[in-house]
Symmetry: C2
Subunit: 443 residues, 2 copies
């Protein structure tokens, strides 16, 4: 604990984007924070191997350490923030901090998605806690909503736009009609996508956050590897545009739904009605819609990434240790994944949803009848059809026929698509995108 009642000593491990911002808040804005908090958060160590960024930020060199043990040995430190990211080294740092009796704060979604339960169990054994508001949704206090504001609810579903890079790219594709590759290039130029954007665009980062949020929302331990994940990297501009014509906006959605048979978790590009609040979330902003049995639909919106938003979530967790709230919640609530049973996670085949299908068909009579027959045989009803006048020159690739279906099981839809694609009138693989309907409120 801190050296006196109104003082909590903290250490930051990893002075990169988020660590640097947290350190800046703790020093530059110490007076603002103390005034609200009624206590000082004293930054006592900034541990890293390279202090170039720390120096750029003008942090006090007296805080710089290249040896983690110095921070862990300091009895004045009660909270250690792991902000280096990645799995193995980060895990070791957190375990060492816990063993040294320090509370831990982390923004590391990959680590928590894979090893959260073990780390929490260790923390519990040693009487400390782990705060991880910064791991999901940057500056949006979504973890707090799930464990505190909505505590009196049975949570039934959660739809999240939780990757700013993807949302930036999809917003640009929607508004400018641009293609994926060119939009990604633009995002990279503006610093809104990493040089290697794979974790973001392939949906893995969103799945990490989904695993963390769903575990708390449903009070079930989630198996990350069982979450089906599709990214935005195979999307075509034309599907984004056809969707808009039908009243839908494309979003990379992290979805968790409670079903009677278990939990359905998935990450995928999906169409959502332009009337849904998530459809409005544009550019680098993120938002999470939560459907709860008493509260109904609530949504939490903000900057899902970035130095200061995420840094402020780190400092909020430190503050909550200082106030004693995170410690009490970690000790007393029963929804932490080290305490809860394993989720029954449903296979993607069983997801019931409406779908958007784009077929590339020969432009001749009878095509729609053949397609409809295949779908009908699998009990998939057509809800709407969109077929424009064909282009003047037939390039042999077929003409797009867009169908939306009524709700059907994903397995049936996939099998029907395989059959459709085997028809001689179909010239290219059919594109299939889920349409996510507003989750019903129980109120």
């Amino acid at each position: 604990m801190g050296r006196n009642d109104s003082n909590t000593g903290v250490a930051i491990i990893g002075c990169g984007t988020v660590g640097g911002a947290a350190a800046t808040l703790l020093t530059r804005d110490a007076a603002t924070i103390s005034e609200r908090l009624g206590a000082d958060l004293e930054l006592r160590h900034v541990v890293d191997l390279d202090f170039a960024h720390a120096r750029e930020l003008g942090l006090d060199e007296k805080l710089f350490r290249d040896d983690l043990q110095q921070a862990l040995a300091d009895e004045g430190v009660s909270v250690v923030a792991e902000l280096i990211g990645g799995i193995d080294t980060a895990r070791e740092i957190i375990e060492q901090a816990i063993r040294a009796g320090k509370h831990v704060v982390t923004a590391n979604k990959a680590l928590l998605a894979h090893h959260g339960p073990e780390l929490m169990a260790l923390a519990r054994e040693r009487g400390v806690c782990i705060g991880f508001e910064a791991s999901c949704g940057g500056g949006i206090p979504i973890i707090r909503a799930l464990i505190d504001g909505l505590i009196a609810n049975r949570i039934d579903a959660l739809f999240g736009i939780v990757n700013g890079t993807c949302n930036y790219i999809l917003t640009a594709m929607t508004r400018q009609g641009a293609g994926y590759a060119e939009t990604l290039g633009e995002a990279q130029k503006r610093g809104l996508a990493e040089a290697d954007p794979t974790l973001d665009v392939a949906g893995v980062d969103s799945a990490h956050k989904l695993a963390i949020m769903a575990a708390l929302a449903f009070g079930r331990r989630v198996d990350f590897d069982s979450i089906p994940v599709e990214g935005i990297d195979t999307l075509h501009a034309c599907d984004v545009a056809y969707g808009q014509e039908l009243g839908y906006i494309i979003k990379l959605l992290a979805i968790a739904e409670r079903r009677s048979e278990g939990l359905s978790l998935r990450v995928r590009p999906a169409f959502i009605s332009r009337e849904h609040p998530l459809a409005w979330v544009s550019g680098p902003f993120n938002a999470v819609s939560v459907y709860a049995h008493a509260t109904g639909h609530t949504m939490y919106y903000g900057r899902g990434a970035g130095d200061m938003p995420t840094g402020s979530a780190v400092v909020a967790d430190m503050a909550a240790v200082a106030v004693g709230t995170t410690t009490s919640q970690f000790e007393r609530l029963k929804l932490w994944p080290d305490l809860t049973p394993r989720a029954e996670q449903l296979p993607v085949e069983s997801v019931e949803s409406r779908y958007y299908l784009r077929m590339m068909a020969e432009d001749r009579p009878g095509v729609l009848a053949k397609v409809a027959a295949v779908l009908g045989a699998r009990d998939i009803s057509i809800r709407s059809v969109l077929q424009h006048e064909p282009p003047e020159a037939d390039d042999g690739d077929g003409v797009p026929v867009v169908i939306t279906t009524h709700a059907a099981a994903e397995g049936d839809v996939r099998r029907a698509i395989a059959e459709v694609d085997a028809l001689d009138v179909i010239k290219a693989p059919t594109v299939c995108i889920a349409i996510v309907d507003e989750h019903p409120e129980e109120l």
Copy 2:
């Protein structure tokens, strides 16, 4: 405190809409809540004078008491929820509960807006706390965001849509082009407006919530009576429509902004860009946008009223007492209005904003020049003008000339309007509606 560590006894005073819902959650959904909370919230007393509603809900008659003292004398009760509303009796109940050593939970925004600081001081003196998540935004955990999730921030502004009745009426006026009176009648028929809707439509309810939220956001004690309040009851359908034509949506906004000279608080119908997330908040939904120096813009969206959403906020506060978080926050944070200095509240004249003006002018040459001259003399620049072809039959009321201005001080605008209205070419009082621009983020 509860009779054992995992059991917190609670009493509900007032079994109306919110009290009945909270009692239902505590009994019908006890298992769900206990599973998440890791503790039981035991409803021990439902105090009221009339149990018709309680019986309709099927609550256990053994809980019914017509004497508050029975609940207060019960040592097994640690939390008392005041849910009768109104000022005098509610205040007395809360004071008695505090004096009996009970923590208090309340949804009573009017009482807190007027007497929050005194009640909090009394609670602090007696070592108990007051939870009031349910007082603002129904099921939206906005109080928690302000005191917990955003604790590491200096909050610079807050824009709220915090009255569901008004938002329902304005949404209908916007979408259907209907008039105020007819839309209000419709809302009353659907149970979305009270028989006497004055507190809602005149903006007073929104001002109550603004006073509570602003005090926490800025860490300043707010004087409710100094908040300028305008309602939606004088709005014309045509202004809603002209605003839309210009790209704006009309909302009743509760606004709090930090200025170098003090705080500007106000409630008024205002135009907001259709690109702003608040513009999308429709029907009975509420939302609060918060602009904070590190987190930037975050928004909290959900059902701002209704039995179950508000009841779930009441139960969340009881749970937070059971976990010990609200008690710690009330004890340790320094932003409660009984502990903070008085706000410098700026007079409405000093508000700088853009404005929409609709003048009813004679349809003859030179009118716009005269109006522009009056505005120019007060340094008010015109940003856009909208004047449609005049109606075929001149009814003598003049034709609407709509002007939007660049930013100007409200006092100057009001004085200019008085001068405009004195012109012989102006046939009716000019309508003036503020245009609220997106608050800049500092990031």
